[in-house]
């Protein structure tokens, strides 16, 4: 059990002990490392002003590569840095003071006005630059969707992105990638961490068994995955989390295993890591996940976290409900499986027993002839919470609906299915009459709230119309 974290700040090794395990990287950078280039715009992962880049070795030893990911420093707790390289806007200029190509492009394209969001954009651009080139305007817009700028209207920033990220990366970071990867591997002792600070303790287990044991031993501890939701308890509600178990180092939680036509997704997979697999399950699922948060959030947020926080407005639950997912829950040495429908008990309440955690999610691949559509409606296309999310899977045999799974987010206290609407479809000829009946039946299934994202009347109307869109899409 190692009592300190070790990481590279730029190319400089840093060892830290005694820090609060819920100290954010943003606060540490600005207040302790005195690196003020990284800005706080919102402290909730929605503006990207605090974007920094995490580097880690890519491939096995000897491959010499580094992978760089843009993340929000405001929601990143210090233990997440262990074994990684942290790059901030201060690290990009060359030793001779020359601007990095993405910085140079931002100047040449007039991509900054007030400049406050600029360091965050620059770091998101840096990660994009390291991603291999060939960046189109659309790809740039997606990569920068998590960075808000209130001055420019984005056009010059997107121009800068396309201009600087067209060719494959070639800079001093790619030149030093082998050395950086070697330095990081040298830091990696495979150890678990126990980080103590006054009034706080954080465990970072390195194996699944260790995690299971810690979870049993500390049933009241907070399980910390990517922190994109949990982090808000610290940055917004200013809570002190006394005991934290971080899943950061449990590699087994990030495995993808196909078992026949069912995929077993480790609960610790980030959205970004899971995306290729989800695309293989169904392109609609991938399209939905690309609209969860933005790049910085998807690099940290996890599938298990999106279920475990039991938010009624998470986006993966309706999709997983529609696909018929089951959860693998673990408590100590015991495992059990649970259909996802039975997991959500109430607002932010789950079927997890004390000491239990989500180990994996089992998702059957939809049959080739299954109809799968997923809709997300929000005020803004990118980086917004769903006003209503509808995910549907139908089996239609000889023109008759034989299976119907209609699942919803944002429409009740928990992610849910709609039994009355499903019943209205089942056994009926697949046609507008059945769809209209299902739309009417939704009134009995869904009890949406009115809030700042939409009125109850709008949400219900949306849900009904999404069924109509399902039908119109299939009819077209």
């Amino acid at each position: 059990m190692r009592p300190e974290i070790r990481f590279l700040l730029g190319d400089r090794p840093v060892r830290l002990a005694g820090l609060s395990p819920t100290l954010t990287v943003l606060a540490w950078l600005r207040e302790q490392a005195r690196l003020a280039g990284t800005k706080e715009g919102c402290a909730e992962g929605d503006c990207g002003a605090c974007t920094v880049v995490l580097g880690e070795p890519q491939g096995g030893p000897g491959s010499g590569g580094m992978r760089y990911r843009a993340v929000n420093a405001c929601l990143l707790f210090m233990p997440a840095l262990d074994g990684r390289q942290l790059l901030t806007v201060e690290h990009l200029r060359g030793a001779d003071g020359a601007l990095h190509p993405v910085q140079q492009a931002m100047v040449e394209h007039h991509g900054s006005q007030c400049g406050f969001c600029t360091p965050g954009f620059v770091m998101a651009l840096f990660a994009l630059y390291q991603g291999g080139g060939g960046v189109t305007r659309a790809a740039a817009a997606e990569a920068l969707a998590g960075n808000l700028c209130r001055c420019t209207g984005y056009r010059p920033i997107l121009d800068a992105a396309v201009a600087s990220c067209a060719a494959p990366a070639e800079d001093r970071f790619t030149a030093a990638a082998g050395d950086t990867a070697a330095a990081l591997r040298a830091l990696d002792d495979g150890a678990s961490l126990v980080l103590d600070a006054p009034g706080q303790r954080c465990f970072v287990p390195a194996s699944l068994d260790e995690l299971a044991a810690l979870r049993l031993e500390h049933p009241g501890a907070v399980l910390l995955a990517g922190g994109t939701d949990l982090g808000l308890r610290v940055t917004k509600r200013h809570e002190v989390l006394e005991t934290v178990i971080s899943l950061e180092k449990v590699a087994a939680l990030r495995e993808v295993v196909w078992q026949g036509d069912t995929v077993r997704l480790g609960a610790g997979l980030t959205y970004a890591e899971a995306l290729p697999t989800l695309a293989g399950l169904h392109p609609e699922f991938a399209a939905l996940v690309r609209r969860i948060g933005a790049g910085q959030v998807r690099e940290r947020g996890t599938l298990g976290g999106n279920l475990g926080n039991a938010s009624p407005i998470g986006d993966t639950p309706p999709a997983l409900l529609a696909l018929g997912a089951r959860l693998v829950l673990r408590r100590g040495g015991e495992q059990r499986e649970l259909p996802l429908e039975q997991f959500f008990l109430g607002y932010r309440q789950t079927a997890l027993a004390p000491g239990e955690f989500i180990e994996a999610i089992l998702v059957p691949r939809p049959a080739p002839d299954a109809v799968v559509r997923i809709f997300k409606v929000a005020k803004r296309f990118d980086q917004d919470i769903s006003t209503c999310c509808g995910a549907f899977q139908l089996r239609i045999v000889d023109g008759v609906v034989r299976q119907a799974r209609l699942a919803w987010g944002g429409m009740a206290a928990v992610p849910c299915r709609s039994p009355n609407a499903e019943a209205a479809l089942l056994g009926q000829p697949w046609g507008e009459a059945a769809v209209r009946a299902a739309m009417a039946a939704l009134v009995d299934d869904l009890r949406p709230l009115s809030d700042f994202r939409g009125s109850a009347a709008y949400r219900l109307k949306l849900a009904q119309n999404l069924l109509l869109k399902l039908w119109l899409g299939e009819a077209a």
């Binding site: 007030c114 209130r150 990118d382």
Partner: protein, 759 residues
């Protein structure tokens, strides 16, 4: 002479921005012993404060001071024009989010924890939240104002067609990326230096002095750059700076106050929302004959800047249209909400939204293309005097709109949209082309003045200082261009230093799009004074007169005599000639009589137009912006790169205001959208890939610097085209009937407008 002016030079801080080296207030290394302040906000929209018990808080770790209303030595008010904005609530809170007290401690966490430990007993009172209640109770922050021309009642009665309606236009949060922040550093005796993220350093200086009961000369306010402002740091920065100053004065220690995003959005003011009731009479051609407009705005709990903002809404109720007989009534409603404040456009956009809704309704009624009705009603010769008596002297709107209609292929696309809509049941497209006419000058006469201070050093480098604040718009770049050109220097030889009240005093806020017009003239004059002195020195004995001396390419040339600018500076210094000068400018020609509501409040108008096309999903109300064409009048551009940045950024901000940006208050008067997770401003994906921006290239008829035009606010109103494109798409769901669509046109409002038409 203009080696710099007119060129698309990069922002003077561009390299510092991209490298993270540009310092904002929160980035400045704090002085030793610096305290951190936290403001406790009222949870109630309207309540009596019965009791405050801060005993426990004062004893908490790290706490250095707890400040209440009684602890303010001077005036407990930061109202910019009228009183009504207490620093700390004095027995009464009038909005949820109002400052009740402040705690200063060694760390922000300690200050926050202590503030939450203060026990405040409230007695809630009935709150006025909506316009109807305010009107019924005659709850106003300021007296009702009226403008009138001709005989609107008779014109309405006699018109062949008459329509009336109501249009609601929402507010907007500034969402500057850098939240409100100030650092106060005590000096000797009663001296205090305040580093503030403010658009108005002079006002911060004056209000700090007034709150501390010290003379203005004891307080210096300094501002290097703002991380965005948009009007939100014109009056709203004062409270933050004053609280930090109060702590510094009381404790003798430096104090920083930085609001986090939620507190910033709860505590500080936003754009006024408006309700516009209209009654219009018009002829078969769609020409407006009579119009009655009633503008009611929610001003919140205090007057703040609402007088001038609502005045500007009245001044812009015509947009680009001649209104022969018109009556405008403006109610400035007092509500138990945060006091609404300046926001890019300053009431003008809301006024323009009203008349654009009227014109749209006329067109739908007559089954004419809205663009045709717009063009017919434009100001033109013989119909060129505004309802407040100002002659629209230099009016390019007809050729400008014609040029945009041509370049955007409006007619062909109008037909294509109709064809698309005829063949699509569930998706509808909409197209709109709307004009902008925006008056340039502060409507408060005294604000239309500026000062500058320029120093030439004997190495030939130049330092310039002026009263304007750099908030991203590129003001310092433009000023440096102008000063460099006066001296024939490369812009790299001119450094603009932080705006400071002890360098240039008694400044106006950087607002009303006026920054370059006012401060540019002042800086140019200061530089010109020095140049003339240098020219006289260099001319002496050269055989040419001083006014024939050329300053160009880094050299000073007097006939055959030629020397570097640095040599000329040294020569002047050796001859004991001052190389420092102030410069001063006041805007000519403007005057206004509020008693008669007649005059020339604006030096000139800035013009523009925008054509936008959208596609709406009529089952969800979601939409996409397909293409935008903009033609905007920046006069003769001083810096086309910066001006394009203002045009595009303003357009996107205006589009956000009218589409996705929605402020939602709950039944208790609490703002529920107080962070970017709930308040959505446009992101990368909301800007169309097909965005075509051109300048209407024509020098300003008035003698502005470089014959350029102000560009800060006018482009915001180009976003109105997007709103009307949405209305057009919605109207396509109801055989062209006018769409009952209010702003912001969220997907929910769009869907329900469609449902209403289909019902």
């Amino acid at each position: 002479m203009n080696a710099n002016a007119g060129r698309p030079l990069a922002h003077e801080s561009g390299v510092r921005h991209v490298s993270g080296e540009a310092q904002y207030v929160d980035d400045i290394a704090e002085p030793a012993g610096c305290l951190h302040a936290f403001i406790l906000l009222s949870p109630h929209a309207h309540a009596r404060v019965l009791r405050v018990d801060a005993g426990a808080a004062r004893a908490m770790p790290g706490v250095a001071a707890v400040l209440l209303a009684a602890d303010v030595p001077g005036v407990n008010d930061v109202g910019p024009a009228f009183p009504g904005d207490p620093i700390f609530a004095d027995g009464l809170v009038e909005y949820a989010g109002q400052s009740v007290l402040a705690v200063a401690a060694e760390t922000l966490a300690q200050a926050r924890a202590a503030a939450k430990a203060v026990v405040v007993a409230y007695e809630p009172l009935p709150a006025v939240m909506d316009i109807d209640t305010a009107l019924a109770a005659e709850s106003f922050v300021l007296p009702t104002q009226r403008m009138r021309r001709g005989e609107p009642e008779a014109a309405l009665a006699q018109a062949k067609h008459r329509l009336n309606g109501r249009h609601e236009v929402g507010g907007q949060d500034h969402f500057y990326l850098e939240g409100q922040v100030a650092l106060a550093i005590p000096g000797e005796d009663d001296e205090l230096r305040v580093i503030s993220s403010t658009q108005h350093p002079t006002e911060v200086q004056h209000l700090v002095a007034r709150a501390l009961k010290v003379p203005d000369h004891a307080v210096a306010c300094e501002t290097r750059r703002l991380g965005g402002a948009f009007g939100g740091k014109e009056s709203q920065a004062s409270l933050i700076a004053v609280v930090a100053a109060l702590v510094a004065a009381k404790t003798g220690r430096a104090c920083k106050l930085r609001l986090d995003r939620d507190d910033d959005m709860l505590l500080t003011g936003k754009r006024h929302d408006f309700r516009i009731d209209w009654d219009v009479g018009f002829d078969d051609a769609g020409m407006i004959e009579g119009l009655d407009l009633v503008l009611a705005s929610r001003c919140g709990m205090s007057p703040d800047l609402s007088a001038a903002i609502n005045d500007r809404a009245m001044f812009h109720s015509d947009n680009a249209y001649f209104l022969p007989n018109v009556s405008i009534t403006s109610y400035r409603c007092k509500t138990n909400m945060v006091s609404a404040t300046a926001f890019r456009g300053f009431g003008g956009p809301q006024g323009m939204m009203g008349i654009e809704a009227v014109v749209d309704a006329i067109a739908r009624h007559l089954k004419l293309d809205p663009l045709v009705v717009r063009q017919r009603n434009f100001y033109r010769a013989g119909r060129d005097t505004t309802h407040y008596g100002m002659v629209v002297e230099d009016n390019p709107i007809e050729p400008l709109v014609a040029q945009l209609a041509e370049s955007s292929a409006y007619q062909a696309r109008r037909a294509a949209v109709a064809a698309f809509n005829a063949t699509h049941s569930w998706r509808k497209r909409g197209l709109a082309l709307t004009p902008v006419k925006f008056g340039i000058s502060f409507t408060l006469l005294a604000m239309n003045q500026a000062g500058a201070l320029v120093h030439v050093y004997t190495d030939g480098s130049v330092q310039a200082n002026h009263g304007g604040v750099e908030m991203g718009q590129g003001l310092h770049t433009k000023i440096a261009q102008l000063v460099a050109d006066e001296f024939g220097l490369d812009i790299s030889r001119v450094r603009i230093t932080a705006t400071a009240t002890d360098k240039v005093p008694n400044t106006s806020p950087t607002a009303a799009s006026s920054g370059t017009d006012l401060n540019g003239q002042a800086a140019q004059r200061a530089a010109r004074t020095i140049r003339e002195r240098m020219a006289a020195v260099v001319a002496e004995g050269s055989g040419v007169s001083a006014d024939a001396v050329l300053f160009q390419g880094g050299e000073v040339v007097a006939g055959a005599r030629r020397m570097s600018f640095a040599e000329a500076a040294k020569l002047a210094h050796r001859n004991r000639v001052s190389l420092s000068s102030t410069g001063y400018y006041r805007t000519p020609k403007i005057h206004y009589d509020y008693a008669t509501q007649q005059g020339r409040p604006f030096f000139y108008f800035a013009w523009g137009a925008c054509c936008a096309e959208v596609e709406v999903d009529t089952l969800t109300g979601e939409y996409r912006l397909l293409r935008v064409d903009i033609l905007h009048d920046v006069g003769r551009s001083l810096n086309p790169a910066l001006d394009r940045g203002q045009v595009e950024g303003g357009f996107v901000q205006g589009m956000g205001w009218l589409t996705m940006e929605e402020l939602v208050w709950d039944g208790e008067g609490r703002l529920r959208t107080h962070a970017p997770s709930t308040y959505k401003i446009p992101a990368t994906g909301d800007v169309p890939a097909d965005l075509r921006v051109e300048f209407f290239d024509r020098p300003n008829a008035e003698a502005t610097v470089h014959r350029a035009k102000a560009v800060g606010e006018p482009p915001l109103m180009l976003g109105i085209a997007v709103f009307h494109a949405l209305r057009d798409a919605v109207a396509a769901c109801g055989e062209g009937r006018a769409a009952p669509l209010d702003a912001p046109a969220t997907p929910e409002r769009v869907l329900f407008a469609i449902e209403a038409l289909r019902a």
